[in-house]
C-alpha cells in the first residue's frame, strides 16, 4: 500500500526538452508518477467552441478532456465543401407563377422577395414557376422550380406584352400569380387583371397560404383575403427565399405563339424614347450618385467641376448651405434631404449625426477627410485620409487623361 516515493529531480529530468541550450521542460507531458493528467483550461475551452461562426459560441454541455482528440477541426470543412444540392420537384401539385420585372435580365431584390412569397404560397407540394420576358439569370437559386421564358417585346408596347403574359398564364393554369408592386410590375399586374377579368389583390404585405394582407384607407385598416389568382407584393415586406437552389426546369407551353395583337386601331403609340435622368437637375432625393461638399472644402469651383466630371448630383453639408456657398436644396441630412442614392461621395465632411441620418440609406459611401477619426471615415466603404483639396484636382486630371486616351 505504500506509495512509491517520488523523485522530483528525476521527474523533472524526464520532461526536459532535449536539444536546447537553455533547459526547457514540457509540463503538459503525461506524468508517469501520479497518473492524473494536468488540466489545460484553454484547450478545454477551445474544444467547446462551436465551429463556423464569426462570433465565438461555446457548447458548455460538451466536456472535453484536454488530452482527448480535438474534434472541432474536422467539422466545419465537410459542411462548407459539400456543394448545395439542387432541389428537384418532379410533379408539383399546383403552380404559383411569378412575373418579375427583371430589369436588364437580372432579378431585382424586389423580384427575389416575390419569389420568396411564391415559395411560401407553394409550400411543400406546389411548384414556383417564373415567367420572364426575355432571358433572365439566377432564377433557380432565388427559388424557382420552373422557368418559362417568353419572347421579349421590343419597344414600349404594353398591350402586346399584356397579351403575351395573359396567354402564357392561361396556358400555365397556375393557381396563384404574383407580381412585384413596382412601377412596371404593378402596371402589368393591373393590365393582366382587367384583361383576364380577375380581381387583383394589390400591395400585399403578408403572403401566406392562409391569407394575404394589404393595408388600405391610409393604413388605418388592413384587408385580408384567402389567396386569389392575382396579387402584387409590396417591396421589403416578405423575405427572400433562403433555402437550397431549385431546379428552374425550362417549360414551354402550347399556345405561347405570340397572338397577333388584336388592336382595333394599331400604332397608337407613335414613339417611345428613354430619357435618362439628368444628374445636374434631378431632385436630390431621387439621385443615384451624390457627391457632397463639407466645411473642409474651400475650393468650390473645383468641386463643381468634379461633380460634373463624375456625372453626379451635387450635395452639401449644412455648414456650406448656411454660409450661402451652396444652395439650400442641396443640403443632405436630417433637416435637409434624406438620400436614397446608391453611392455617396463625401469630401471634407466630418459626419455629424444629423448629416449621417441623411446618408443612412446609401449603400456605398466614399469619404475623403483629413481627420482619421471623423465619423464619416468610419462609415465609409472606401475611406481616404488625405487633403480633399489635392485629391479633387488629381481626380480631374485622371478623368481627363482617361478621356484623352479613349478619344
Amino acid at each position: 500500500m505504500t506509495r512509491p516515493r517520488r523523485d522530483p529531480r528525476a521527474e523533472r529530468a524526464s520532461i526536459q526538452v532535449a536539444g536546447e541550450a537553455r533547459p526547457r521542460f514540457d509540463r503538459t507531458a503525461r506524468r508517469t508518477g501520479s497518473g492524473r493528467p494536468r488540466r489545460d483550461p484553454r484547450a478545454e475551452r477551445a474544444g467547446q467552441r462551436v465551429a463556423g461562426e464569426s462570433r465565438p459560441r461555446y457548447d458548455l454541455s460538451q466536456t472535453v478532456r484536454f488530452d482527448a482528440a480535438v474534434i472541432t477541426e474536422a467539422q466545419p470543412k465537410t459542411a462548407a465543401v459539400a456543394p448545395p444540392k439542387i432541389l428537384v420537384l418532379e410533379n408539383p401539385a399546383f403552380l404559383v407563377a411569378v412575373v418579375p420585372d427583371a430589369p436588364g435580365g437580372r432579378l431585382s431584390s424586389h423580384d427575389r422577395q416575390v419569389l420568396g412569397a411564391a415559395r411560401a404560397l407553394a409550400g411543400r407540394e406546389g411548384g414556383v414557376a417564373i415567367l420572364t420576358l426575355g432571358p433572365c439569370e439566377g432564377v433557380g437559386p432565388a427559388g424557382a422550380d420552373r422557368c418559362l421564358p417568353l419572347e421579349a417585346v421590343e419597344g414600349y408596347d404594353p398591350a402586346s406584352q399584356t397579351a403575351r403574359v395573359a396567354a402564357a398564364l392561361t396556358a400555365l393554369a397556375a393557381r396563384h400569380v404574383l407580381f412585384p408592386e413596382s412601377l412596371d410590375g404593378g402596371d402589368l399586374a393591373r393590365r393582366v387583371a382587367v384583361r383576364l377579368g380577375e380581381p387583383v389583390f394589390t400591395n400585399a404585405e403578408v403572403v401566406a397560404a392562409n391569407g394575404l394582407v394589404r393595408p388600405a384607407k391610409g393604413r388605418r385598416v388592413e384587408q385580408r383575403v384567402a389567396p386569389g389568382m392575382l396579387a402584387t407584393v409590396a417591396p421589403d415586406a416578405v423575405a427572400e427565399y433562403g433555402g437550397p437552389p431549385r431546379e428552374a426546369r425550362l417549360l414551354s407551353v402550347d399556345g405561347e405563339a405570340p397572338t397577333p395583337s388584336p388592336q382595333k386601331n394599331p400604332k397608337r403609340i407613335v414613339s417611345a424614347a428613354r430619357v435618362p435622368a439628368d444628374p445636374a437637375t434631378v431632385p436630390l432625393a431621387l439621385a443615384e450618385f451624390v457627391v457632397s461638399a463639407g466645411n473642409g472644402l474651400t475650393d468650390l469651383d473645383t468641386f463643381r467641376q468634379v461633380v460634373a466630371a463624375l456625372h453626379a448630383t451635387p450635395g452639401a453639408s449644412r455648414v456650406l448651405c448656411d454660409a450661402g456657398l451652396m444652395p439650400r436644396h442641396t443640403q443632405v441630412g436630417a433637416s435637409g434631404t434624406v438620400l436614397a442614392a446608391t453611392c455617396y461621395f463625401a469630401l471634407g465632411i466630418s459626419g455629424a449625426p444629423q448629416h449621417l441620418q441623411g446618408v443612412a440609406g446609401c449603400e456605398h459611401v466614399v469619404a475623403v477627410n483629413t481627420d482619421l477619426h471623423a465619423a464619416m471615415i468610419e462609415r465609409a466603404g472606401l475611406a481616404i485620409v488625405q487633403d480633399a483639396q489635392v485629391v479633387m484636382p488629381a481626380l480631374l486630371r485622371l478623368l481627363e487623361q482617361e478621356a484623352g486616351e479613349n478619344a
Binding site: 422577395q113 414600349y156 404594353p158 412601377l183 402596371d187 393590365r191 382587367v194 387583383v200 400591395n203 404585405e205 403578408v206 388600405a216 384607407k217 391610409g218 393604413r219 388605418r220 385598416v221 388592413e222 384587408q223 385580408r224 383575403v225 421589403d236 415586406a237 397608337r268 407613335v270 414613339s271 417611345a272 424614347a273 428613354r274 430619357v275 435622368a277 439628368d278 443615384e288 463624375l310 456625372h311 446608391t342 453611392c343 461621395f345 446618408v359 440609406g361 446609401c362 449603400e363 456605398h364 459611401v365 466614399v366 468610419e378 466603404g381 472606401l382 475611406a383 481616404i384 485620409v385 488625405q386 489635392v390 484636382p393 488629381a394 486630371r397 485622371l398 478621356a403 486616351e405 479613349n406
Partner: protein
C-alpha cells in the same frame, strides 16, 4: 382639346378628413396647362371634390352613385358620351381601397390607350407627348395619337395653390344620376385595424443575432465593416482608387464607354 380629370373622394392619411388626393390635384395642374378641363366624380356626394374647384378646375360633373357600388360602369358610360382626348387620373386613390384599378378598368371598358405614371404632358389634340416616370428621375417620353388615359405619378409638378374665389365661382353639375342596370356592388373584404409589421432589414443575415440586425439597420454592417482605409496616400493613387471603386459599384461609366 377636351380633357377630363377623374376625381375621387379622398381621405387625409392622418386625420381621415375629406381631402382631394394630391395626385389628382397634380393632374389638375397638368390639365390646366393644356387647356380647358372638366372634373368627373362618381360617388354619393359631390362636396367631397369641391376642393378641386379651388385648385384649377372651373366645372365638375358629378354622377350620383350610391356608396358601396362600383363607380366604373357609371364613369365609363359618361366618358363614352364625352369622348375626351385626354383623361387624367391618379395613380392610386387615397383613403379608399387604394388599389389603383379604376383607371385600368376604364381603359379596358372604353378600349382606351393607358399610359401609367405620367409626370408631364405636352402637345395638342392629335399628338400628345407624355413623360412617364421610370423612377430615380429617369423618364420615358411617349408620343401617342388619339385619345389616351394617363395616370399621374407623385413626381409630377406640385399642385397649384388653392384659390378661395375660384372655388366659390366653380360649378358642380349633377349628370346621369340614373345608373340603373349597371349597379355592381364593390367586393367586400374582411377588414381589421392595421397592424404594423416589422420591416424587412436589408442585408441582415437570416437567423442572425439582434446585434447583427441592428448593424444592418444602421448601415454599419455592409460596407463599413469591410471598409478600406487609405491613410495619407499619394493624391494620384487616391484618385485612381476612388475611380476604380466607383466603377466597381457601377455608378460611374467605364472609361471606354464614357468617351463615346
Amino acid at each position: 382639346m377636351k380633357i377630363v380629370v377623374l376625381l375621387s373622394a379622398g381621405r387625409h392619411p392622418v386625420s381621415g378628413a375629406p381631402v382631394l388626393p394630391r395626385m389628382e390635384a397634380q393632374a389638375i395642374r397638368i390639365a390646366a396647362a393644356l387647356g380647358e378641363a372638366v372634373g368627373l366624380h362618381a360617388g354619393p356626394d359631390a362636396e367631397a371634390v369641391r376642393e378641386a374647384l379651388g385648385l384649377g378646375l372651373t366645372h365638375i360633373e358629378h354622377i350620383a352613385v350610391a356608396d358601396g357600388l362600383d363607380p366604373v360602369p357609371a364613369l365609363a358610360a359618361r366618358l363614352a358620351a364625352m369622348a375626351p382626348d385626354l383623361v387624367l387620373a391618379g395613380r392610386r386613390g387615397q383613403g379608399g381601397p387604394e388599389s389603383g384599378i379604376v383607371p385600368y378598368a376604364l381603359a379596358e371598358a372604353l378600349d382606351l390607350l393607358l399610359i401609367p405614371d405620367v409626370v408631364a404632358v405636352s402637345g395638342g389634340p392629335d399628338t400628345l407627348t407624355l413623360d412617364q416616370s421610370l423612377g430615380r428621375g429617369a423618364l420615358r417620353r411617349v408620343a401617342v395619337r388619339g385619345p389616351v388615359l394617363a395616370t399621374v405619378h407623385p413626381d409630377a409638378a406640385a399642385p397649384l395653390a388653392y384659390a378661395f374665389g375660384k372655388a366659390r365661382r366653380g360649378t358642380i353639375e349633377l349628370v346621369g344620376a340614373a345608373a340603373k342596370a349597371t349597379d355592381v356592388p364593390e367586393a367586400v373584404v374582411e377588414e381589421r385595424p392595421y397592424r404594423r409589421r416589422p420591416k424587412l432589414v436589408k442585408g441582415a443575415p437570416t437567423g442572425g443575432s439582434a446585434a447583427e440586425r441592428l448593424k444592418a439597420a444602421t448601415g454599419e454592417g455592409g460596407s463599413a465593416t469591410k471598409g478600406r482605409l487609405l491613410v495619407e496616400p499619394d493624391p494620384e493613387e487616391a484618385a485612381r482608387e476612388i475611380l476604380a471603386h466607383l466603377r466597381q459599384i457601377g455608378v460611374l461609366a467605364d472609361a471606354s464607354k464614357s468617351a463615346k
